[in-house]
């Protein structure tokens, strides 16, 4: 299927198109709280939104965190600069869980609501990015994933979400959560759009020494591998739909096989150990005078001043700072942090072996989108366990894509496909082929022509 970017460029825009689109989008924003910031007027061209933890020159970028309120970066993140350089037009900053700390998109003020039904969560942490993609016809979202922040909301909002191999897209200008896990990625309505945008934003960057410039492959796999441990604790409705989906794929010539990675469920605690350890050091720079919200009383000593500044952190951020500081403590560092890093090495090897045979396929999430109050009532361990399927590829840096494969009532069901490092194009090819025969459904089409 051709990209909607090409389709948009070819279509004539009627008089007042951009004004009308901006008005419709503003109405959607009133209803679903998608954007933290939107421009007063709309630049002409294909629109892209940017997650609120990615810097846009002159536009407040707070990662939806109160402590960063008012921070206005004087530069564009590399991904944003490259998008603008190729003629894409910036339409707004999308809301997210504070600093990316969340699975459901509800850890921020006036959180986004799922456009399919606002009583339900969008998924997180790239909550607004998924909602924007679900309502806007000609648009792509620049999003970011640390442990599943692209796949989860893409699945819950019924869009395509792509997380590249770690290091292929520069992180310069990203308000970091966990440096060894953060990846800037893309959400769109079609895989062809994702491929187009990926080609724009990937590639080495002098400002990010962890950004890799190397060939990206499109090695097709005909074997689809179900890792048995990833299929535990999945809702029956999701399992039944997924079985029907894999049967369809078999009828199209794919071979579906089962493999075992016995320790893969331990990827979640390992992920939370590493991510909180890195987050607790990253958040130490928000001291109350350099970025964002200001603590005014300079007569205080540094410790009191810093402690007062940090009172603006949300509950989940405080929890993660405490956990991260604890696991890095000298007395327990080898038990938690170093052990988690060793476990990551084991996981990279075990998943790498399986991926050399074929794609790993699974539902993206073990549940259908919950209602907002249900998600808010989960204790942290239960909430973290919802990332059981999205965490392994994120922890090991493998590229993955989530795309709709079925619907239950109005709600989409997302499948996650994982491949080897640097085989990113193969994911877009697979999802693109799926889209030839399966039409994604969208309730809203703001900006249609």
């Amino acid at each position: 299927m051709r990209s909607s970017i090409d389709e948009f460029e070819e279509k004539e825009k009627p008089d007042g198109y951009y004004e009308r689109t901006l008005k419709e989008l503003s109405d959607m924003n009133q209803k679903f709280h998608i954007f933290s910031r939107m421009p007063q007027s709309m630049e002409h061209g294909f629109q892209f939104s940017v997650k609120d933890n990615i810097c846009v020159d002159g536009v407040e970028s707070s990662a939806s965190a109160e402590i960063l309120e008012g921070y206005v970066p004087p530069f564009d993140a590399t991904a944003v600069e490259r998008m603008r350089g190729r003629g894409f037009s910036f339409i707004g900053k999308t809301k997210m869980d504070e600093f990316g700390f969340g699975t459901f998109g509800i850890n921020c003020a006036e959180h986004p609501l799922n456009p399919i039904n606002p009583e339900y969560v969008t998924g997180g942490s790239s909550a607004g990015a998924a909602a924007a993609t679900a309502v806007m016809k000609y648009h792509v979202a620049i999003a970011e994933s640390t442990g599943g922040s692209i796949s989860c909301p893409a699945a819950f909002c019924g869009v395509v979400g792509f997380t590249p191999t770690y290091g292929l897209v520069s992180r310069y200008g990203l308000i970091d959560y966990a440096n060894s896990l953060d990846k800037i990625g893309i959400m769109a309505r079609r895989s062809a759009d994702i491929r187009h945008v990926f080609d724009v934003i990937k590639g080495s960057d002098r400002y990010d020494t962890t950004c890799i410039d190397r060939e990206v492959n499109a090695d097709k796999r005909t074997k689809l591998i179900i890792v048995d441990q990833l299929m535990q604790n999945i809702d029956q409705a999701v399992l039944s739909a997924f079985d029907r989906f894999t049967s369809k794929l078999e009828s199209r010539g794919y071979e579906v096989v089962h493999r075992s990675i016995p320790f893969i469920e331990k990827a979640i605690p390992a992920y939370y150990i590493i991510s909180t350890a890195e987050a607790s050091t990253n958040l130490a720079k928000y001291t109350g005078f350099k970025y964002g919200k200001k603590t005014e009383d300079f007569s205080q000593g540094y410790n009191e001043f810093f402690t007062e500044a940090r009172s603006s952190l949300g509950t989940e951020a405080k929890r993660r700072v405490i956990l991260g500081t604890f696991v890095r403590s000298a007395s327990v560092k080898s038990k938690y942090y170093e052990k988690a890093l060793r476990l990551r090495r084991m996981l990279i090897e075990a998943m790498g072996n399986v991926l050399s045979e074929g794609f790993i396929i699974s539902p993206t999430m073990p549940i259908m989108p919950p209602k907002v109050e249900e998600a808010a009532g989960l204790d942290p361990v239960k909430a973290y366990s919802m990332d059981s399927i999205t965490v392994p590829p994120n922890l090991a840096g493998f590229p993955h894509i989530s795309f709709p494969y079925d619907y239950s009532g109005d709600f989409p069901m997302g499948a996650q496909l994982i491949t080897s490092h640097f085989n990113d194009y193969a994911l877009m090819d697979f999802a693109g082929a799926w889209e030839e025969d399966f039409e994604y459904r969208f309730k809203y089409n703001v900006g249609s022509l």
Partner: protein, 90 residues
């Protein structure tokens, strides 16, 4: 984590929690640490720590000074005195 250890952690983190918030977060932290303990059952002997998920060459930049042309705008994010950011006493 006992109360004394938790309070010590709060001091290191420079976090001050109110009574009910402290009790709630401490209970959550205890549950999560118990969950973290489950990685003990995995035998990782022979595996070195993976600090990055993808092997990458250690790249360095040329050791030279660049002029950041937007420093005036950068300083607008903080209270300033001349071209210094104003901060608390150390």
């Amino acid at each position: 984590m006992d109360d004394a250890a938790f309070d010590r952690m709060l001091r290191i983190c420079r976090l001050r929690l109110s009574g009910s918030e402290r009790d709630r977060i401490k209970a959550d932290i205890d549950k999560v640490i118990t969950y973290f303990d489950t990685i003990e059952s995995v035998d990782c002997d022979g595996y070195s720590p993976a600090y990055q998920p993808v092997e990458m060459p250690a790249r360095t930049r040329e050791d030279r000074t660049d002029v950041f042309r937007e420093s005036d705008r950068l300083l607008k994010n903080s209270k300033t005195y001349r071209f210094y950011m104003v901060g608390p006493k150390i």
